[in-house]
Amino acid sequence: MDDMQKLLAVLVEVKDDIDFEAEKALVDDGLIDSLDLTQIMLALDEAFDIHIPAGEIEPENFNSAEAMLALVRQYQKQ
């Protein structure tokens, strides 16, 4: 859960008016837009010391905190 809390902290830093724990359709419902995504990407890269390629920026990967965590984990292994 440490990673998840770290993730949530990072997300709140980018956008503090969204309940990242509860929302499951962040991109689909338009709660975060493309520019928010770019900032989240940079924040994740920095916080977890990973490099997520542009091809992974898809609604499925960013619709919920869980999805983002899975993505981070995927690239942490590399």
Binding site: S34, L35, L37, L42, A43, E46, P53, A54, G55, I57
Partner: protein, 483 residues
Amino acid sequence: MSILSIEFLALVGAVLILYYALPLKIRWIALLAASGVFAALSGWQGAAHLTAAALVAWGGGLALQKHRSRILLAVCLTAEIGAMAFIKLYPLLTGAMLAIPLGLSYFTFQLAGYLIDVYRGKARAASNPLRVLLFAGYFLQLPQGPISTWKELGDQLTEGHRLEPVNIVSGFQRMLWGFFKKLVIADRLAPVTEALLKEEAALPGWFVLGGVVLYAIRLYADFSGGLDLVRGVSRMLGIGLPENFRRPFFAQSVAEYWRRWHITLGAWFRSYVLYPLVTSKAAVRLSRLVSRPLGKKTARALPSALATLLVFLLIGVWHMMSWNAVVFGGYFGLVMAASLLMEPLWKTLQRTLCLPKGGWMRPLRLIRTWILVLIAQYFAFTNSPSQGFSLLRQTFASWDFHRFTELCTGVMPGLEWLIAGIALVILLVVDLICEKKTDLCDGLARARIWLRWPLLIALIIIIAVFGCYGEGFDSAAFVYTQF
């Protein structure tokens, strides 16, 4: 071949009949044949370029599937986009005209997207070159897009679709709506723009402002009308093309505007230019560099802001090869970048002043967006930045109304203004309904006959009588076809 011509309608009719007559598995041959005919009739040079580009993409795709090589991707992309850039820049460099292939920008972008998707592992390369050829040359998207991804369109094109009445009815309705927007509204408003460009010395400010507003509306009606036409026909074939316009004038911010205007262009630039730029090593390094002096939040926003600025400059240049493009694109880029960088500031302001998110803030946000978008329009239809700035200046000059009737009837007679006005009201009402109830077309397709038929027949008659076509009308070609 213009998509407003009888020939095109005949082609559509022929395709529809052929498509549903063929056995399910080979129905896509009808699409390929129609696309071939359409491309050939629009210029053999264009058809040749299209075929060559598709073959390069097909070969490149298969090769990239085997070896995920960045160099190979770079070579293929350079070939595709380089060819497009060459053709577009040629007149500027040599002064001579080259026949621009129909749909050059659209199919080039689609093929580039295909190659990148294969490289990223998001799409399977097609083994049949005809599939790639159809994807690039699908006749309904050549004139003005939309720009589809392989994931959206690739399979839809080749899988045969069964005849579903709701597709035919819904598609036909959308097609009619497109005709209405284009022929009754957009073409009727064309003289307004021409009046502005005539460089009459002392045009009163209200006339210029009104003219620019009507230009924006005209462009919307023209472009979205053409796309509705094309999407409607495609729907009749059972193929769904992505939406390109979602009532852009209901946007509450410039960012939202660009998510509602020319949606597929924005999406393409986002996926294939913005995100790669922002996730590049250079961006990360930049972010780290400015982290200490400017703060974490700004450090994260800065690469995005810069990338956005670049993207909009490119979008501007995509629209027109002129200095106006720089002003147009640069303006939007700066507005977006500024709003991004100032977001934290704005949030604090909102909190301290206790400004509500909804309520009366919504119309204010709408108006703010309209003003920002309107300023850009001054550089969309004028021939040079100086003309744009001059018109902008004139807007704030004299607001003398004493020549009101003379100027208005000089553009077009009172009856035409009345018709345009009524048509715009109809457009507004329909758009308002669609904003609340996402798809009016499908809803109408399932409605009772006694409601649907009179509406449709009335619409057909309105288009037939009040459309600007035929003798005595300068059928203003689609604005977005020369891209």
